[in-house]
Symmetry: none
Subunit: 122 residues, 4 copies
DNA sequence: GTGGTCTAGACCACT
DNA sequence: GTGGTCTAGACCACG
């Protein structure tokens, strides 16, 4: 079944991000093989070129690498993956503080709100 | 200039949310008049019916009210607005904790990350 | 008139290299505008997508940047350009020493040969 | 496995050059027999006539000679081989100085760069 | 069957 | 007119 894409960002970036999320969340461990371009294209219901573009993006960031005709693999460089995870997290934090700031809620107040519900999260 | 809408939710809800954000952020103070359906429809480049639908949604939540042919106004009931602001904030908090949790980052760690950057936010 | 491409490397890389050479040689000074994708595609007699790919490569290296719909420009960061020039030169040096080494000529002998003809070069 | 040829020069010249390189690099010593036309044609995946043409070129330069039906042999005239090696080397030197000159690097600077890395080469 | 490259042509937004 | 994105489909080299 086709994936859902929002229309405000390029599809290839959304695909790249989904793959990236799958990688940092451990779905594809370091060194493991990723789905093929064609398979992902089928799954996401987009053109193979679009998936290629997405992979190129991730290869550029160094978190995946292409082994010629064998397929694409998650990097085994755990440090790179860790850096990636950290930068994604920081991005989420900044976006959160910006969004909640527009509701006139300070970072300190946000922390308080998190304290109140944090028991619901691991 | 047409607004940008993501394709995964009804446009009228996205419009409603934007108006709601404008209200709780103080752009439209309590008791103030909102733009007309036609003006908003023009601005967002959507059908006036869609804006109408969005307004109905907000009226339903009680944060705006229609004064017949005079136009639509933000409620003067500060408590309602405050409730709305609070629920929006809580929604942001939960979504944030869910998203960052997928990066294997606990709520406590999230707080630590916020502490580190909170000086950048008011 | 169509450019000439060797068949042993991707066309988009050859285009990227030609542009890069034009930039470091000063044909396109720092901050200057580059030809448009379509114009280059016409000139090189290739598909616009191929030129796009070439530009993306250079943008990736940071020596050019895209100003939205205004066009593409050479970076004004002279240091980046200098780094680029230096790395290209080193690449030439290594390839030269490798090639001439296959003729059983040592680096020292190569230097001697250059000394003998260097008056012909500025 | 077919050889790779660039499309900007006649294939027979490219084959001639490869053979020439193999000879001056010592792969085929003075007086030794060269592979047959048919074998080379197979190896390079080209028409035997093309290889014939390449051999004629080298025969013309005097670095190989045909012994009737026995096959083709590298000349035993070491001086001819030496001349050939020298002219190939000079060609490399001139091309190197031209290329690196386009990066605004003088012959003298080129020598300096070679000095810095020459320990990596025999 | 894999990734990679390239073409042809389309649509979009305007940084 | 610009860059950017996307589709559809083709060919290649590699094992």
């Amino acid at each position: 079944m086709a994936w859902r894409f929002s229309s405000d960002r390029p599809v290839y970036l959304q695909i790249a991000q989904r793959i990236q999320e799958s990688i940092v969340s451990g779905e594809y461990p370091p060194g493991s093989q990723l789905p093929s371009v064609r398979q992902l294209a089928l799954e996401a219901a987009v053109n193979p070129n679009t998936v290629q573009h997405a992979f190129a993006e991730l290869e550029n960031e160094g978190i995946i690498l292409s082994k010629g005709t064998t397929g694409r693999f998650v990097t085994e460089d755990v440090q790179t993956l860790e850096d990636c995870r950290h930068s994604m997290a920081q991005q989420l934090v900044h976006r959160f503080l910006k969004d909640i700031g527009q509701l006139s809620i300070s970072a300190q107040q946000a922390i308080t709100m998190i304290e109140e519900v944090k028991h619901e999260y691991p």
